[in-house]
């Protein structure tokens, strides 16, 4: 059966046919794209059961958005209470307001505790970011005011710091002894309740049996992730990365085989913890289990930490506030070896590199690997790549590398980058999409959900406008990109970075029928309004998923 979707206008992202109002779909794929006159001819020529679907006649169709760097962890986070600084939409469409003070955070948790029957179950929250509260740190007293009867734990948005209440600290027996920089203490030497690294999660697990990640492979996590992505207009999303254990792969297969599952997933194998030989073997093993909504064919490596967490590796002169240089998440020698081996095996490599020192290390590794084994269409991609300068972009071009920039950082942490992490000079070139395109480098942009909310139109808005949350602009016109370029980055650009641009990313014959249905035409709106456009629905393989957002 053929369905013809009629829209007010269709942004095809196909330069050969940029104007259309009708798109015909058969077997989940695009059969034809055209104007009203074309559709009339199709209906005449095609079988009688051809259906004209008019429900989007007042809306605008785009290719479904492609989120090239996100994590399934987003789906798990919604099991817990959101206490982030910015508004965020959950899988059910409910918008959780951002919390602007620590008191607002504790109030939300207290309300949660008051409303429940079982007061001994743990209270878990996520999304907190101390960088917005200056010198005022969240501490155990704040969380003791929420409850002293149960474990209470807040996972920071970085996922690398937790705060706990005294219940957990006392159960664990943490006292004033044992000085460790990973346990924050007050002047009396008592732990303040803030634990760095993985220490806090380990403590909670050992002392109270609290295990935040226990539910990670449960089916609802995938469903929640998919719903959040779907509401943002995403039809293909990524999980960067996953060690692909047996049960996770089973869960992924089961979910994506269902027609009702609203996104295609691309899963990258997590390469840091294993030898390349093992990763290559695992990717071979899972290859036959892929389906048209599930790919498991790329590898992800992580070079360093995060800039706002001061764990990214920076070149001279280092951090603006004098923090010591960040952490390698992999030995540079081992990075060289892994990139060499995966490249040799012909597997596409995505490398997380935030700081400019790490970007250098990754470029050196690719230069050596590609000199040893050339693959003309390798599509290896630098992920985040936030601090790259022009010289580094030129090296990427020379090596044929793509880039997927973390544009959301400009808004969320732009001010913090100016004042604390890298200073104005380097913040001006943060996530420099303008430079990438000027050098002719394939460009995608991303959210890194759950680190920031998934929302390609918002991400595009960040890359176009480059304004921080207080309205400062980072860099000049050379760093900004046009709306057209940003729209390409969230569709074809991201699809290219996943080697899927022959199947998705534009509305043209032969491709999968994946669309985002929008309230307004992004090309007709002011660039400042890009983020305010609503996603009405998505279409995945011809199947419609309506948004029933009821936030207003």
């Amino acid at each position: 059966m053929i369905t013809i979707f009629h829209a007010r206008s269709i942004l095809t992202m196909n330069p050969g046919q940029d104007r259309a109002t009708h798109v015909a779909v058969r077997d989940g794929k695009i059969l034809a794209v055209g104007m009203k006159e074309d559709a009339a001819k199709w209906i005449e020529a095609w079988p009688a059961d051809t259906k004209l679907d008019e429900r989007f006649a007042d809306q605008v169709l785009m290719p479904g958005f492609v989120e090239g760097h996100s994590h399934l962890m987003e789906g798990l986070m919604w099991d817990y209470i959101y206490v982030g600084f910015y508004d965020r939409m959950g899988p059910d469409g409910k918008v959780w307001s951002g919390l602007k003070t620590i008191e607002a955070v504790t109030t939300r948790l207290k309300e949660f505790d008051d409303a429940r029957d079982d007061k001994s179950a743990p209270i878990i929250a996520w999304g907190f970011d101390p960088i917005f509260f200056g010198d005022r740190r969240l501490n155990r007293d704040d969380l003791d005011a929420v409850s002293t009867q149960c474990p209470a734990l807040i996972l920071h948005s970085s996922l690398h710091i937790v705060n706990t209440n005294s219940f957990i600290i006392n159960e664990a027996g943490v006292d004033a002894n044992n000085n460790s920089e990973f346990i924050r203490r007050n002047d009396d030497g008592q732990p303040t309740g803030e634990f760095l690294g993985q220490v806090g999660l380990f403590m909670a697990m050992r002392a109270t049996g609290l295990d935040l990640l226990a539910a990670f492979s449960k089916p609802h996590v995938l469903e929640n992730f998919a719903s959040v992505a779907q509401r943002a207009g995403v039809t293909t999303a990524t999980d960067l990365a996953n060690s692909l254990p047996e049960d996770a792969v089973k869960g992924l297969c089961a979910a994506t085989e269902r027609r009702e599952f609203p996104v295609r997933l691309v899963i990258a194998y997590s390469g840091n913890a294993a030898e390349a030989e093992d990763g290559i073997k695992r990717l071979k093993e899972v290859a036959p289990l892929q389906n048209d909504k599930l790919r498991m064919n790329i590898v992800k490596l992580v070079g360093d930490g995060s800039i706002q967490g001061f764990s990214a590796r920076l070149k001279w002169p280092g951090y603006e506030n004098g923090s010591p240089n960040g952490l390698w998440y992999i030995e540079p020698d081992r990075l060289n070896k892994l990139i060499l081996d995966y490249n040799k095996a012909g597997i596409q490599i995505h490398v997380h590199a935030n700081g400019d020192e790490t970007i250098d290390a990754v470029l050196n590794a690719f230069e050596a690997a590609l000199s040893a084994h050339s693959h003309p269409d390798h599509r290896h991609t630098l992920q985040h790549c936030q601090m790259a300068d022009r010289a580094q972009f030129k090296r990427m071009k020379a090596l044929g590398l793509g880039v997927n920039l973390f544009s959301n950082h400009i808004f969320y942490w732009g001010d913090a980058h100016i004042e604390q992490t890298m200073g104005r000079d380097r913040a001006n070139r943060l996530d420099d999409a303008g430079a990438a395109l000027a050098e002719g480098i394939p460009l995608a942009i991303h959210s890194d959900a759950p680190v920031t909310a998934i929302g390609p139109l918002f991400t595009a808005w960040c890359a176009v406008n480059r304004v921080t949350s207080t309205g400062q602009r980072l860099g000049g016109d050379a760093q900004r990109i046009s709306v057209d370029e940003a729209l390409e980055a969230i569709t074809l650009g991201a699809a290219y970075s996943l080697k899927m641009d022959s199947e998705i990313g534009s509305i043209e014959i032969g491709k999968l029928a994946d669309f985002a249905v929008l309230s307004h035409n992004p090309k007709d709106e002011e660039p400042e309004k890009l983020k305010d456009i609503s996603v009405v629905a998505t279409v995945v393989g011809g199947h419609v998923f309506m948004n029933d957002t009821s936030s207003d």
Binding site: V199, M203, M205, R206, E275, E331
Partner: protein, 309 residues
Amino acid sequence: MQQTPLTILTGFLGSGKTTLLRHILTQNHGVKITTIVNDFGVLNIDEEIISSQGGTQIALANGCVCCTIGDDLGRTLHDVMSRTLLPERIIIEASGISDPARIAAFTYVDRSLKLAPILCCVDSSAYLKQSNDIHLADTMEKQVRAADIFLLTKGDLLGDDASKQFETAFAPNLNDRPFYWSVQGQVDLSLLFETDNNQLTPEHAHDPTLLETAQPYLHTKLVSYSGHLPPINAQTVKDNIATLGPYVLRAKGVLTDDDGAYIYQYASGRSDVERSNSLDPSNHFVILCSREVDLTETIFAHFSEKSVI
């Protein structure tokens, strides 16, 4: 509460951690050790001594177990500590870029673990180059700062003269912490942690075999002192040992104070006091020193003066 000692093995990629671990795992030391490693494939353990092998774990005939870190060290450690049969010691092979202090912090938030001396492997043939590499220097500095005992490796590649030169070059990093040379992972394990075969007990005072087995691996000489102490407060013992810090490698005694009998143990900067009602206090105290200086009188005079409770 029974506490499992946790040894962190740090050092750069290629510094000899895996070789040392293979040595530790295959020795007949009588300790049921669980090692948590990055990849046990590279450990290359003889199939003959493997008793069973699963996806992320190998069990050895001598009771040792070897498992992989996977994505999450905390979870792996939790799993190991949740088993019915607890290990007698855990050794974590930290990755070449990790800060051992991060792992050490786990023991401060878990009553069932106690931190043992941190071992740091240093590749004597590569250290000077690595420590001058701006990309690596700060990471290496963290590892050296956290270490309690250094194992200098690959001296056989350098030869005797160059090894001596390296000792001189490395000496400013030591800050009175001990170092031993280890070739192909060979080292007397009693220098690294207590084993069934070679526990430091008061009876070991002046035990010539202990000294003999240690000697070949030491460029510094090993001397032990022993004597009897009057009733002495555990904190006072700690304080005194701290004062003698630079010289003392290990110390042990079964002592008494107002609260009763206790076992005092000291290894590489850490004091440990364990109280038990069933102890028969000998008030015998033994100290193992890393320098050939006659401190006997000084040490016991030191204790006697300050030991009045």
